[in-house]
């Protein structure tokens, strides 16, 4: 019996307009090296000037995870040579990080677990080395160099890949809710290193391996699962795990050691003499506290208490800020039971998004579509089955629900006048069955409904039709 011990280091790119120490833009996707100022290029003589917005964002994060905010924190230089690190050092925080001693509660299978957050510090991102652009040469793009990051370091408190992913998702949701990061994992705005070790329950921590730079929830889960099996096999064969840095290869679904050269570094940290200590007053902290938006835990409570959502659904929605924003917007314009709206979004829409690998925030289907569909169901205009069909149509790019209903001719008939006429017609056609029904053969109701539906090509509103038939057959 082995216990898995996991700690995560999460790198979150902050969504400031300019870089951490220069005024160059941080927009993603610009032409190579067009967003690198003399400071980002580390020209001789340039000096860093701290972006105060980044500091405020880090404080916001700290407050959101019940952490302490350092009244004085210090930037340090982490020295190493690499072509995408123009200064030959990264400006980071070492001894005194801006945020420390926080915690986050996560729920796995309905059980609450508290994960400690050791620290979160500000640092600058490196540029990018591009090795596949030219045949014999490597290229460097310094647009990303100097982009602000917070690195969030957890305690080794997680015991399974599911806990790790839940924690990761919750951090993701928090930084998105706070508006301090776009959280875009494909573009590298949110990435994570996982430290994994195994031990016998009750023993000291085992030797850990660090898996670097994982950029999807799924990969984090797979990488940890792979690593757990790898380490278990090593330990069970009586050997020891080597402390090393590994990379996860999603194509082969395995982790591999990085070349030892890439990690053999003595970073020679020392306080950066170009920057003053960052001092934050209690007033400033209090002021920032007032700007905090609704956080995932508050959101979950609201969903449960105000909307009566089921625990699981409230949890799923609150952990994904794009999804919860979509849900909140859908609820706004809807007269339907919020649980039904949640069901529809979580099963139908999310299903479609997953199938097509599209994030809900960029889907062509908007919350207003969902509100309209849900309202039509309430009004009896369409059935929930038809709502699903319409959703599929919407996905293909047709965006007018009424138009779809018309063209597909799927509108339900709820008009009592029309239904009354159709019902009378059928009852007159079947006097014997009417008599049998009146004599107690209740199940003939289904027969009448079926006949009318057949006549009306299934468009009759079953609820209204039932009422009418009941009334007619009592006469």
């Amino acid at each position: 019996m082995w216990e898995t011990v996991i700690g995560l280091e999460i790198h979150v790119q902050l969504s400031t307009e300019s870089k951490l120490f220069s005024s160059a833009s941080t927009d993603f996707g610009a032409d190579q090296n067009t967003q690198a100022s003399v400071i980002d290029l580390a020209m001789p003589g340039v000096l860093p000037v701290l972006n105060k917005n980044a500091v405020d964002m880090a404080v916001k994060f700290g407050l959101a995870v019940d952490a302490k905010i350092a009244r004085k924190s210090i930037f340090a230089r982490k020295n190493y040579f690499y072509p995408d690190l123009p200064k030959g050092y990264q400006i980071s925080q070492y001894e005194l990080p801006i945020v420390f001693d926080g915690k986050l509660d996560i729920y796995v299978d309905g059980t609450k677990k508290s994960v400690g957050i050791t620290r979160a510090h500000l640092e600058e991102d490196a540029g990018k080395s591009i090795h596949d652009l030219y045949e014999d040469e490597s290229a460097i793009d310094l647009n990303r160099a100097g982009t602000p990051l917070i690195e969030i370091v957890s305690e080794p408190d997680m015991r399974s890949s599911r806990e790790a992913v839940t924690y990761l998702k919750k951090i993701h949701s928090i930084v998105k809710s706070l508006g301090i990061s776009d959280g875009n994992m494909q573009e590298g705005s949110f990435r994570c290193d996982a430290n994994i070790s195994l031990r016998r329950p009750g023993d000291e921590f085992g030797t850990r391996a660090e898996i670097k730079n994982i950029n999807s929830f799924k990969f984090v889960e797979s990488a940890i699962n792979y690593e757990v099996i790898r380490q278990r096999e090593i330990l069970e064969s009586g050997e020891s795990v080597i402390q090393e840095t590994r990379l996860y290869d999603p194509k082969k679904d395995e982790t591999r050691p990085m070349r030892s050269k890439e990690e053999a570094n003595d970073y020679r940290y020392f306080p950066d003499p170009d920057l003053l200590p960052v001092e934050i007053s209690q007033e400033k902290i209090d002021k920032i506290k007032l700007t905090l938006p609704e956080l995932p835990d508050d959101k979950k409570d609201r969903y449960k208490n105000n909307y009566g959502l089921k625990e699981d659904d409230a949890e799923i929605l609150s952990l994904n800020s794009n999804l919860s924003t979509f849900f909140d917007e859908s609820i706004k314009g809807s007269d339907s039971d919020p649980q039904l709206v949640a069901n529809f979004i979580l099963s139908e829409l999310v299903g479609l998004c997953n199938k097509h690998n599209v994030d809900i925030s960029v889907a062509t289907i908007k919350p207003s579509h969902i509100s309209q569909l849900m309202n039509y169901i309430v009004q009896g205009k369409i059935s929930s089955k038809q709502a699903k069909d319409i959703l599929n149509e919407l996905w293909t790019g047709k965006l007018d629900i009424d138009e779809i209903i018309r063209s597909k001719n799927i509108e339900q008939v709820s008009d009592t006048g029309i239904l009354m006429k159709e019902a009378q017609k059928i009852l007159e056609k079947h006097p014997k069955e009417v008599q049998d029904y009146k004599n107690g053969k209740d199940k003939l109701m289904g027969f009448f409904v079926g006949q009318i539906m057949k006549e009306m090509k299934g468009k009759a509103n079953p609820k209204v039709l039932n009422e009418i038939l009941n009334k007619l057959l009592k006469e």
Binding site: V38, L41, R268, P273, L275, L276
Partner: protein
């Protein structure tokens, strides 16, 4: 055309007694005549200077006068100058043309100065004799067999030789005051943070400070005002108000300064230097100063602490010179590691390499506490020492250097002896204090400097006492070869 001071030049220009183009050409001619021998300049910016001179003349014609209109100046080649080669005295940057101006350059340009050229210096400001420059040693105009001091040797020698009326320098451990002393001119290192460091190629960021060379103290007062002030591009620059130093110096107020002489600054002096120094003390007493013996008990630890802090910071500051984006790149590089190793091995000189190695070692895991942290503690002790001293005295004086200039080549193979020549200057950098060296006499026909140290942001009183001293003496008026 023989102006004695910056003040005279500015007045002559303002009164249209001389045109800026005449004046500029005259200085350029002097440089061309003397510099083959002295080697003060790495780059002569003749065309730039003449264009600017014409522009200023046009302004003067329209009676538009800036604070330093038409003043020729030599800029230490450590300041980045847009579209002009900025070498920092190193092969590493022999091909480097800066895309931007340092704040000091920007301010002096805007004040109307005419840059004559970029001056020679010890490589990356590491040296006390100007012998570590890639462009060869600078000569002392008092005797060309002697060093002018360093690292701002070119700037000091040019002003001493009167081929530039003033120049900029930088001072990390004495690099302005020591060459000023050895060349017989004024050299002012302001308080850390007084002048922006933006665009000044970093040696040791927590110690580096830009300053000036002039022949007299009033000139330094005039220039300091234009160079100083908060710069949003330098987080360590100060927003303390910049006074009008010149009018402060010229005001009649008699301050009756209490001046401290630290025992530690005089106890090991040789007789010649001691005599010259105490003669100058008499002059200070004559102008109303009270002299008091004080103690700066950690003085002897200054050089050691400095030789840990400065190399540590330099080892990190110089990492950017990697042959990747600009500067020297080796032709013999087959892979990345090789590119780094060869470019840096070829691009840096011996002294720079020595300091990078020392600094890298001092910051290494396992040694950090024993060296860097310990040195920072010593630094605090030294700063406290000064703080206590300034509770008792207004200013502190001593000789700037333990002795007169030494001969070229004399100390090149003895780095420790070279480092020890900074013993009286490094501690003010460690404490971030302002200090100035002014001429106080001669030993064997070579000049000696008097160092005046002030409290933080008290440049005005350093300048004032210097001015008072220079009213009574003519050491600052002596010119080499005359």
């Amino acid at each position: 055309m023989n102006f004695k001071s910056v003040k005279e030049i500015l007045t002559a220009i303002k009164n249209k007694d001389v045109s800026v183009i005449e004046l500029t050409s005259n200085y350029l001619d002097k440089i061309k005549e003397r510099d083959d021998e002295l080697n003060c300049f790495v780059t002569l910016t003749e065309e730039f200077a003449l264009n600017k001179a014409r522009k200023i003349d046009e302004e003067i014609a329209k009676n538009k006068v800036r604070a330093l209109s038409g003043l020729p100046i030599a800029q230490k080649d450590i300041f980045c100058t847009k579209n002009i080669k900025t070498s920092c005295g190193s092969k590493m940057l022999d091909n480097f043309v800066s895309p931007y101006n340092a704040t000091v350059i920007e301010k002096l340009n805007n004040a109307g100065t005419i840059m004559l050229g970029k001056t020679n210096m010890d490589e990356f400001a590491m040296g006390s004799s100007n012998e570590t420059s890639f462009y060869g040693p600078v000569k002392n105009p008092w005797d060309t067999e002697y060093v002018p001091g360093g690292s701002s040797g070119g700037s000091a020698s040019a002003v001493a030789a009167r081929i530039s009326p003033c120049s900029t320098g930088t001072d990390t451990g004495g690099s302005i005051r020591q060459p000023a002393s050895l060349c017989g001119i004024c050299g002012l290192k302001p308080t850390y943070g007084r002048v922006s460091r933006y665009g000044m190629i970093a040696f040791a960021s927590s110690l580096d400070q830009a300053g000036i060379f002039t022949t007299d103290a009033l000139d330094a007062a005039i220039l300091l005002k234009e160079m100083s002030g908060y710069d949003e591009k330098d987080s360590t620059s100060s927003s303390v108000e910049v006074p009008d130093y010149q009018s402060y110096c010229l005001s009649d107020t008699n301050h009756n300064y209490t001046v401290g002489i630290p025992e530690e600054f005089v106890k090991d002096l040789n007789d010649d230097v001691k005599k010259v120094f105490y003669d100058s003390v008499k002059v200070l007493e004559k102008v109303g100063c009270k002299i008091k013996t004080i103690n700066l008990k950690y003085t002897s630890l200054g050089v050691s602490a400095y030789q840990v802090v400065a190399p540590a910071e330099c080892s990190s500051n110089l990492s950017r010179f990697d042959g990747v984006r600009y500067g020297h790149r080796s032709d013999n590089s087959s892979d990345l590691e090789n590119l780094y190793r060869e470019s840096r091995s070829e691009g840096f000189g011996k002294e720079v390499k020595r300091r990078i190695l020392v600094g890298t070692y001092a910051l290494s895991a396992g040694y950090y506490d024993a060296y860097y942290l310990k040195a920072q503690k010593v630094r605090n002790l030294i700063a406290n020492d000064f703080r206590d001293a300034f509770d008792q005295v207004d200013l502190i004086i001593g000789p700037t250097t333990p002795d007169k200039a030494f001969k070229i080549g004399e100390k090149m193979n003895d780095p420790i002896a070279m480092y020890l020549s900074d013993v009286y200057t490094v501690s003010t950098n460690l404490a971030g204090l302002p200090a100035m060296s002014i001429p106080m006499g001669f030993k064997e026909n070579m000049p000696l400097g008097l160092q005046i140290i002030g409290n933080h942001f008290d440049e005005k009183n350093i300048l004032k006492i210097s001015h008072l001293y220079q009213q009574e003496t003519d050491w600052h008026k002596r010119e080499p070869g005359k």
